[in-house]
C-alpha cells in the first residue's frame, strides 16, 4: 500500500513541475557529465588521493551543507503545505481503507524524495567533478544529502503542523513562501556582499571571513558536529550513523505524529472555511465612475493577496545587488569602484519600476479572475485594459518616484535622462506585456510554469528594462552604447505593438 501511495504522490509532484523543452537538454547534459566522470575516474584511478580528516575542510563542507539544509527546510515547509493541504485529496485518502500511517508516511517519503532530487540537482555536480579528479570519496555527498533530506522533511512537517495550528493553512502557505524567498534572497545578498559594499571593502569582507574561519578552525576534528561532513567524504561509520539517525528521525516523526497531522489537517480545513467577521450595519456608500471603482478593485485584490504582495516585494529585494553593480558601471565605464548617488538612484528607479510594472501587470492584466464579467459589461473596447495598466503603473511610479525626486534634489546632472528612462522603462514593459498578453490563473502567477505566458514576452521585457537602464546611465555622457540602447528601448515596444495589435489580446476581455 505504502509504495502505491508513494508512487501516486510522486506522480502528482512530477506533474507540478514545469513541462519545459529545456528539461531534455538538461537531462542530456547530466548523462554526458556522468559519462565524462566515469571516463575521468578511469584515467585518474591510479592516484586515489587520500582525504585526511581536517577541520578546515570539514568547516567548508559543513558550511555548504548548512546552506543546503536551510534551503531544504524552507522547501520542505512549502512542499508539506502543498502535499497536505493544497491538493485537497486528504479527505479521499482518509476515507479509504488505507491506514493513516501509510498515507502520512507516503507523503513524507515523496517529500523527502523531492528534497533529495532538488539538492542533487544543485550540488550533485560537486562530487562528480571531485570524482573526475580522483577524489571518489566525495561521492559520499549523495548519502549525506539523502540523510539531510529525511531530517529536513521531519522538521518541515513538524513546523508545518505547528504553523497550521497557530496561523491556519492560508497564512502558513504565505509564511512558507516568505521564508523560502527570504532564504533565497539572503543567500543571494550574502554572495553579493562584496559588490554592495563600497571601494575596497571586498578585501575587508574577505579578511573578516578569514578571521571567523580561523576561529572556527580550533574546533576539534572529532566533534560530532562534523558527522555530516565526515559522511560527505564517505567515512563509513559517519555515513551509517548519519543515515540511521535521519531514517530514525523521520520514522519517529511519522509514527508519533501521524494522528496529530491528520487531525490537524482536518481541523485546519474546517477553520479555513469558517466565516470571518459578520456584516457591520454601517450605511452603504459606493464610489462612482468606472475608473475609480475599477482601480479600487484592482488594488484591493493586490493588497489582500498577501502571497502575491510578498512575491512582488521580494522581487525588489533581489534587485538590490544589481542596483549597486550597475550604478558603479554608470559612474565609471571602466568598471572602477565607487558610485555617485545620482547614478545609484537612476539605476534603482529604472530597474525597480520595470520590475514592479512586470509583476503588477501580470497580476492586474493577466490574472483576471472573472473575465466573463468584464466581457459582458457595456464598456468601450480597450477600456478595461487601460484601467488595468493604470492600476499597475500608478503604484509602480509612486513607489519609485522618491528616487527620482531625491536624484533631482541632489543635483545629479543626469536626472533628466534618468526620469526619461524611468518613464520609458515602465511604459515599454507595460506595452510589451499588453500586446503579448496571455491569461494566467492567479494561483499560477509565480510558479515556474506560468500558464503559457508568451516566451518572447519575458525576453523582451528584460531587454527593454536593460536598454532603458543603459539610457539612464550613459545618455548624459553621450556614450555610444546609450544611443544603441535608446534605439533598442524604442524599437522593442513599438515592434511588439505593430506586430501584435492586428490580433486580439488573448485576454478574454477587452
Amino acid at each position: 500500500m505504502i509504495w502505491y501511495l508513494i508512487r501516486h504522490d510522486l506522480r502528482l509532484r512530477a506533474r507540478e513541475l514545469p513541462k519545459s523543452w529545456w528539461l531534455v537538454p538538461v537531462f542530456g547534459v547530466a548523462i554526458a557529465v556522468i559519462a565524462v566522470v566515469v571516463l575521468g575516474f578511469g584515467q585518474n584511478r591510479e592516484r586515489f588521493p587520500v582525504i585526511g580528516a581536517n577541520t578546515p575542510l570539514f568547516l567548508v563542507i559543513t558550511a555548504v551543507l548548512a546552506f543546503a539544509f536551510t534551503v531544504m527546510i524552507s522547501t520542505a515547509i512549502e512542499g508539506a503545505v502543498r502535499g497536505l493541504f493544497e491538493r485537497n485529496d486528504l479527505d479521499l485518502l482518509s476515507s479509504s481503507p488505507a491506514p493513516s500511517t501509510a498515507i502520512f508516511a507516503a507523503r513524507a517519503s515523496s517529500l523527502a524524495t523531492e528534497l533529495f532530487l532538488g539538492a542533487t540537482l544543485f550540488l550533485g555536480l560537486l562530487p562528480l567533478v571531485a570524482t573526475y579528479f580522483g577524489y571518489w570519496q566525495f561521492l559520499g555527498m549523495f548519502p549525506a544529502l539523502l540523510a539531510m533530506s529525511l531530517i529536513a522533511t521531519a522538521i518541515g512537517l513538524l513546523l508545518t503542523l505547528v504553523l497550521v495550528r497557530s496561523f491556519g493553512v492560508r497564512r502558513t502557505r504565505i509564511i512558507a513562501q516568505v521564508i523560502s524567498s527570504l532564504v533565497g534572497a539572503g543567500v543571494f545578498l550574502a554572495f553579493q556582499l562584496p559588490n554592495i559594499l563600497n571601494g575596497g571593502s571586498s578585501r575587508n569582507t574577505a579578511t573578516s571571513f578569514s578571521q571567523v574561519f580561523n576561529q572556527l578552525s580550533s574546533i576539534n576534528v572529532n566533534n560530532p558536529v562534523f558527522i555530516p561532513a565526515r559522511a560527505t567524504i564517505l567515512e563509513p561509520i559517519a555515513t551509517l550513523v548519519f543515515l540511521v539517525f535521519a531514517i530514525g528521525t523521520l520514522t519517529v516523526t511519522v509514527v508519533l505524529t501521524q494522528a496529530w497531522f491528520v487531525r490537524g489537517a482536518q481541523e485546519a480545513l474546517v477553520v479555513a472555511n469558517k466565516p470571518i467577521a459578520r456584516g457591520v450595519q454601517r450605511p452603504v456608500r459606493f464610489n462612482s465612475g468606472l475608473w475609480r471603482v475599477a482601480l479600487q478593485k484592482e488594488w484591493r485584490l493586490i493588497l489582500r493577496d498577501t502571497t502575491l504582495l510578498s512575491r512582488v516585494l521580494l522581487q525588489i529585494l533581489y534587485m538590490v545587488p544589481s542596483v549597486f553593480v550597475f550604478s558603479r558601471i554608470g559612474s565609471n565605464p571602466t568598471g572602477a569602484m565607487g558610485f555617485q548617488l545620482g547614478n545609484l538612484l537612476a539605476a534603482s528607479a529604472v530597474l525597480m519600476v520595470a520590475n514592479l510594472v512586470m509583476s503588477l501587470v501580470r497580476i492586474t492584466l493577466y490574472a483576471e479572475d472573472v473575465p466573463d464579467l468584464l466581457a459582458s459589461a457595456p464598456l468601450q473596447r480597450g477600456m478595461m485594459r487601460r484601467v488595468k495598466l493604470a492600476a499597475a503603473l500608478i503604484p509602480s511610479f509612486l513607489f519609485t518616484s522618491p528616487m527620482i525626486i531625491v536624484s533631482a534634489i541632489n543635483g545629479s546632472s543626469g536626472w533628466v535622462f534618468a526620469t526619461f528612462a524611468w518613464l520609458a522603462s515602465a511604459f515599454s514593459c507595460a506595452i510589451t506585456m499588453l500586446w503579448l498578453a496571455r491569461p494566467i490563473a492567479r494561483a499560477e502567477l509565480f510558479k515556474p510554469a506560468r500558464g503559457g505566458e508568451h516566451w518572447l514576452s519575458g525576453l523582451l521585457q528584460v531587454l527593454s528594462m536593460f536598454a532603458w537602464l543603459a539610457v539612464a546611465l550613459g545618455l548624459e555622457s553621450g556614450a555610444w552604447w546609450a544611443l544603441v540602447a535608446l534605439g533598442v528601448g524604442i524599437i522593442t515596444p513599438l515592434g511588439v505593438y505593430l506586430i501584435a495589435r492586428t490580433r486580439d489580446s488573448n485576454l478574454g476581455y477587452e
Binding site: G279, F286, S288, L290, R300, D369, A375, S376, P378
Partner: protein
C-alpha cells in the same frame, strides 16, 4: 405597457468550433415580459448560444438583437440592458459582497447613491446582509449564487440570461430565486434560463425552446410542444421524445 420590440431576436445564428457546429441556423424571437426556458441535452449548444447573446462569443454568422440593439454591431448598447449569470458565479474571491456589487454597478455606470441603496435592498432580500462585508471566498456555493444574482440585478437589466441559476441552492434559496425571477418578469423584464431540472421549466416558463445538436428543434408553450411531439405526458416525457437518439 411593454414595447412590441422583442426582448431577443436571433437570426440564422451560427457558431463553429473548428469544423464542428456548436450552434447551427438558430432563429428565435422572445417577446418582452416572458420567462423562456432553453432546454437541451449536454453539449446541445445552450451555453454557446447564451454566451453569444451575452457578447462573450462572436457568432460566425447571423445576428443577435437585444431590445432592437445588435450585439455584434452595437455591443455597448446591447450589453447595457443585459445581465448574464453563468452556472459558475462570476465573483472576486478577495472582494466583499458589497465591494463586488460596487464594482459591478461601476461597470454598468450606475449612479453611486442609487446603486448603494439597491445593493442593500438586494442583499437583505437574498438573506446576505449579515455577510455583506465578508469576502466572497468564505461564501458557500449557494451564497455565491445568490450574490451573483444580486450583481446581475443591481444594474436594472431588462433581459436576464441565466445558465443553470438554481445550481447549489437549497430548497428555500431556490424558492426565493424563483420568486425573484417571476417578480422581475411581472415588472416587464425578460428571463431566458437553461436548466436540467425540467420541473422548474415546466412550472416557471411560459415558452420553452428545445435545442439539440446546435439546432432549435422545437419551441412554444408546453401544450404546443406536446402537440408537436405527440407526447401527452410531462415536459420530461416531451423532452425525451424530442431529443431521443434514433436507434
Amino acid at each position: 405597457m411593454l414595447s412590441t420590440t422583442p426582448a431577443l431576436r436571433l437570426s440564422h445564428l451560427e457558431k463553429r468550433f473548428g469544423s464542428t457546429y456548436a450552434v447551427r441556423g438558430v432563429d428565435l424571437e422572445i417577446p418582452q415580459g416572458q420567462l423562456y426556458a432553453l432546454l437541451g441535452p449536454n453539449g446541445a449548444g445552450k451555453t454557446t448560444t447564451l454566451r453569444m447573446i451575452a457578447g462573450l462569443l462572436r457568432p460566425d454568422a447571423g445576428n443577435i438583437e437585444i431590445l432592437g440593439k445588435s450585439v455584434v454591431q452595437d455591443p455597448k448598447a446591447a450589453k447595457q440592458v443585459l445581465a448574464y449569470l453563468p452556472d459558475d458565479p462570476m465573483l472576486y474571491a478577495k472582494l466583499t459582497a458589497l465591494e463586488h456589487l460596487e464594482f459591478v454597478s461601476g461597470l454598468w455606470g450606475m449612479p453611486a447613491v442609487s446603486a448603494a441603496n439597491d445593493a442593500e435592498l438586494l442583499l437583505k432580500k437574498l438573506g446576505l446582509w449579515d455577510n455583506a462585508r465578508q469576502t466572497c471566498e468564505s461564501f458557500s456555493r449557494g451564497m455565491k449564487q445568490k450574490l451573483a444574482l444580486a450583481a446581475a440585478l443591481i444594474h436594472q437589466p431588462r433581459l436576464m440570461i441565466l445558465d443553470e441559476p438554481l445550481t447549489g441552492l437549497d430548497a428555500a434559496a431556490a424558492r426565493l430565486v424563483k420568486d425573484m425571477l417571476l417578480e422581475f418578469v411581472q415588472n416587464g423584464g425578460t428571463v431566458i434560463l437553461t436548466t436540467h431540472i425540467l420541473e422548474v421549466a415546466e412550472r416557471l416558463a411560459e415558452q420553452i425552446g428545445i435545442i439539440a445538436k446546435g439546432q432549435l428543434i422545437a419551441a412554444g408553450t408546453l401544450e404546443e410542444l406536446r402537440a408537436f411531439s405527440g407526447e401527452t405526458g410531462s415536459l420530461e416525457d416531451v423532452f425525451l421524445e424530442l431529443t431521443a437518439v434514433p436507434a
